[in-house]
């Protein structure tokens, strides 16, 4: 197996790391969108997620990563083997992928050799209980994006084709990244992502040197490099695991709820989705900090990521959405 760059070794890019960690803790925030310049560790961060997540328990041969004790899909309980621990899947969705490969299709080999109508699960099945990552999401064909968002929202993949009728769970966190210079995402799609972060290249020269140094060290000797970061990785992994347990227990005080509504109204973020995401993200943030109570600080910390892409577009305002949201938040919290 090829080693991936360790997550804690990524220099800076705090907002992106925060958003990804929140998605690890609370998958219901509904996906992360990362937009930014080239060479800003977008893909590196996402691919490093796998090393950060606790392993999942599933059956050895289950292509859907079913949880132990769940109903077998396709009516075959024996063939899925015994319960084992597997790393949380982080599935890369390549551009130019066909619909068949994404949702799954009739297994041609089996159909021909055995005359069986068998379903060959696609990438959605493999991503179940994990992450589905699309690099250059803005270049993916629209109908695939629609399909992905739909499945991500319902958590279930329904296949009705080739005389097959299969439905299987496909609960995954969608992570998309892209470079806005290559083309933007439709506003309807933007809104479907829970969190959105903008990454920029670091300006500080020491910072930049450190990035190059670490990346270079990794490329030269991945094993040694990963080992030297193993401890930090384990720490972070524990934090995520603890937060995953904690998050369900965290109450949402009325004051926080009220402030969340106020912020959304003040910023003109449409719809309830924004508010809901804001609350969920804040809760996950609280859990990550090991706090049993959600405070306004948590809200403040996640608000930019949760609302940035929901601002009503005002193209005549020359400030970017990041600047606008900071302005709006400063006002909302001053009140």
């Amino acid at each position: 197996m090829t080693l991936t760059f360790p997550f804690p070794a990524i220099v800076g890019q705090e907002e992106m790391k925060q958003a990804l960690l929140i998605a690890c803790v609370e998958p219901r925030v509904g996906g992360v969108l990362i937009f930014g310049d080239r060479g800003t560790a977008k893909s590196t961060a996402v691919r490093a997620l796998a090393g950060l997540l606790p392993e999942i328990e599933t059956y050895e041969h289950c292509p859907y990563n079913s949880a132990p004790g769940s109903e077998p899909i396709g009516g075959d309980a024996k063939s899925r083997g015994s319960v084992v621990r597997k790393p949380t899947p982080v599935v890369d969705l390549p551009l130019g992928v066909t619909e068949d490969r994404v949702v799954g299709a009739l297994d041609i080999e089996k159909a021909l050799r055995k005359g069986e109508k068998a379903f060959e699960p696609g990438l959605l099945a493999r991503a179940n209980r994990g992450f589905l990552y699309i690099d250059e999401v803005n270049l993916l064909e629209d109908h695939i994006v629609d399909l992905l968002l739909d499945v991500a929202a319902t958590g279930e993949n329904v296949v009705e084709r080739d005389g097959l009728s299969v439905r299987h769970p496909a609960k995954f966190v969608l992570v998309g990244s892209g470079n806005p210079e290559e083309g933007e995402l439709r506003p309807q799609l933007l809104d479907r992502f829970g969190l959105s972060v903008e990454v920029a290249t670091p300006r500080d020269i020491e910072h930049r040197i450190e990035v190059v140094r670490r990346r270079d060290a990794f490329e030269r000797d991945p094993h040694t490099f990963c080992e030297s970061w193993a401890e930090a990785g384990a720490e972070l992994r524990e934090r995520v695991a603890a937060a995953q347990k904690l998050v369900a227990k965290i109450e949402t005080p009325d004051a926080v709820l009220r402030r969340a509504s106020e912020i959304c109204m003040a910023l003109g973020a449409d719809g309830l989705r924004g508010e809901l995401t804001l609350i969920r993200a804040a809760r996950a943030q609280a859990a990550l900090e090991g706090s049993e109570e959600m405070t306004l600080d948590h809200l403040r910390a996640v608000a930019p990521s949760a609302l940035r892409h929901r601002l009503r577009r005002d193209p005549l305002d020359e400030a970017g959405s990041s600047a606008r949201i900071e302005r709006g938040l400063a006002e909302a919290f001053a009140a």
């Binding site: 310049d37 060479g39 021909l112 250059e136 210079e181 083309g183 290249t201 930049r208 190059v212 005549l316």
Partner: protein
């Protein structure tokens, strides 16, 4: 340095780059800016010789489709075997090999993204992008060129350079350098190269990383244990220089390392000798190591600066104060309508109603079934070689929506200026915003006095639109006919480029200046009606926003003549304005 010496230098360094690629394939490849010709062929030949002649070497056409690139069902083999036979795509074939992307400047961003993805994976191919662009605005797609270490320009290399160049590195020295490569110490270059990149305005962090790798490969070639001044300078020249966005700040680069420390490329003779020695026996204390990192930064920065292409500097000096913004604008402009009108893959479905059958994809879908379906026929000892059923049908899917252009024609004459010019401007701003959300292009024509002026050619830049609108003065007559004609000309051009055009007129329709620029209400009005009818014949969608206070009969009749939707601009009601904007854009 004489001109010819410089050229030979560029050829020598290009070959050196090929050697570095052979030493460290992790450098990912090069953008080779050159027309087809002996220099390009010679360079590719050099690379091929050095890399490994057994490694796969494939040409990637710029228009390559996903089928060929990523692989898929092999039709012929599938029919023969009676089961699905997958064919490897080009990307599979060049894994561990070299892909030469022909006419890289024509490659779409989608292709670049796919190649970039392959480069990010392991094992990664090496990509040589052949950039034949003539225009400085063209070039290989950013996602790709970003990942390729070297940006070489062979356009200045002459035949005599090729013939008189001394022999370069041989395969033995490459092989030895590969052995040494993992043990090279980065030393000060680790700081100097990122600093140089920052000084040149290179924001991405890949270039300094690639430069560091290149410097290390150079050190391995030069039989050193650590990256010295020369290798760092070479890497800066080859990797960072061509990517520079601005000159290093004066105070940083001013300090005078006299130019002789800027290395030419003569150490080849030494290397040739060194190669005969045992590789690791080099003395540790190279004089270069005495350099402090900051001094090294100066050297690498100067080296990179020397390699900044002359044309680039001229362009930068010509005033693109923010070159990032301008390059972003370019990417929008070159994309034009290609993004939306292009075929967008194949899907299962029935043909008809404008959906076209994708014959090849359909056959491919049917092919694996051949044997099973033939079973029924076999008993009859006849039947088709391939049976296509309805479920095999694949249709071509196009992105239906063509790019649209909304042309705003704003009356800035005196009659309006007195009353409602600012409101009209507000309406245009709202409509601009709406168009922007829909990713439409907008253009702005204003008319007053005797002329109609295209204030803003078709653009997506809202900031520009807003500025030109704000600066629009009012006053003078109403040359409506001239304005309609100008709008029609603009619309015609855009329509020929495949855009859908919507015209939005904001006027009271009271023309009082003729096409000739003279006064005369009646003639002017008649001309306006004529122009309106001609515009109707052109068949563009049009909207007439009557900006007079109580509604003007003139505006209504002009609207009728051009078959435009007629709406009145409601007074002081932003919501209603926004509604108009929406209908205008819809």
């Amino acid at each position: 340095m004489s001109e010819t010496a410089h050229m030979r230098d560029s050829w020598g360094e290009a070959r050196l780059a090929a050697a570095l690629l052979a030493v460290d394939p992790g450098l990912a490849g090069a953008v080779l800016k050159a027309r087809a010709g002996p220099a390009r062929d010679a360079w590719l030949e050099t690379l091929r010789h050095l890399v490994n002649e057994a490694a796969p070497w494939r040409r990637i056409p710029a228009g390559v489709g996903d089928e060929a690139l990523l692989g898929g069902v092999d039709l012929a083999a599938t029919l023969k075997a009676g089961r699905a036979v997958q064919r490897a795509g080009l990307l599979d074939e060049i894994r561990d090999g070299v892909g030469v992307l022909a006419m890289a400047e024509r490659a779409e961003t989608g292709l670049a993204a796919r190649l970039a993805m392959a480069l990010d994976a392991a094992p990664a191919p090496m990509i040589i992008a052949l950039d034949e662009s003539a225009d400085p605005d063209e070039g290989a797609p950013g996602a790709l060129s970003e990942r390729l270490a070297f940006h070489l320009d062979l356009s200045a290399v002459s035949l005599s350079d090729l013939n008189t160049a001394p022999p370069g590195h041989g395969r033995e020295s490459i092989a030895m350098a590969r052995v040494r490569l993992p043990h090279i110490v980065s030393a000060g270059a680790e700081r100097a190269l990122p600093q140089t990149a920052a000084a040149l305005g290179i924001t991405s962090l890949r270039p300094p990383l690639l430069a560091l790798r290149a410097a290390r490969a150079a050190a391995a070639l030069d039989d050193l244990d650590e990256i010295g001044e020369e290798q760092a300078a070479l890497a800066a020249r080859l990797v960072l220089g061509p990517r520079a966005l601005h000159l290093p700040h004066e105070d940083e680069a001013q300090d005078d390392q006299p130019p002789e420390s800027e290395p030419d490329a003569p150490p080849r003779d030494d290397e040739a000798n060194n190669d005969n020695n045992e590789p690791d026996e080099q003395p540790d204390d190279q004089p270069d190591t005495a350099q402090t990192p900051d001094e090294l930064t100066e050297i690498t920065t100067e080296a990179a600066q020397a390699a900044i292409p002359a044309g680039l500097l001229a362009r930068l000096e010509a005033g693109a104060s923010n070159s990032r913004a301008s390059s972003a604008g370019q990417s929008g402009a070159t994309r034009k309508s290609g993004q939306r009108g292009r075929p967008a893959g194949t899907r299962r479905g029935d043909p008809g109603e404008g959906r076209k059958l994708d014959v090849l994809a359909t056959l491919r879908a049917a092919a694996p079934w051949g044997r099973v379906r033939r079973r029924g026929w076999d008993r009859l000892k006849s039947g088709p070689a391939l049976e296509v059923r309805r479920e095999d049908f694949r249709i071509k899917h196009f992105k239906q929506k063509a790019e649209t252009l909304t042309i705003f024609v704003v009356d800035a004459s005196g009659s309006l200026a007195l009353n409602r010019l600012s409101e009209a401007k507000g309406a245009v701003e709202l409509m601009l915003a709406e168009s922007y959300v829909r990713r439409d292009q907008v253009a702005l024509i204003a008319f007053r006095g005797t002329t109609a002026e295209t204030l803003l050619p078709p653009t997506r830049s809202l900031t520009r639109a807003k500025k030109s609108l704000a600066a629009l003065p009012g006053g003078g007559g109403t040359p409506l006919a001239t304005a309609i004609e100008a709008a029609e000309a603009l619309a015609h051009g855009a329509a020929r480029q495949g855009r859908t055009v919507t015209l939005v007129f904001l006027t009271d329709g009271a023309a009082n200046v003729t096409r000739a620029g003279t006064g005369g209400r009646d003639i002017a009005q008649a001309e306006a009606h004529d122009a309106a009818r001609r515009l109707r014949a052109a068949g563009h969608a049009a909207i007439m926003v009557d900006v007079s206070r109580r509604g003007a009969e003139t505006a209504r009749s002009v609207a009728q003549n051009m078959a435009a939707r007629y709406v009145r601009l409601p007074a002081g009601n932003p919501a209603a304005l926004a509604d108009i904007a929406r209908t205008a854009a819809a």
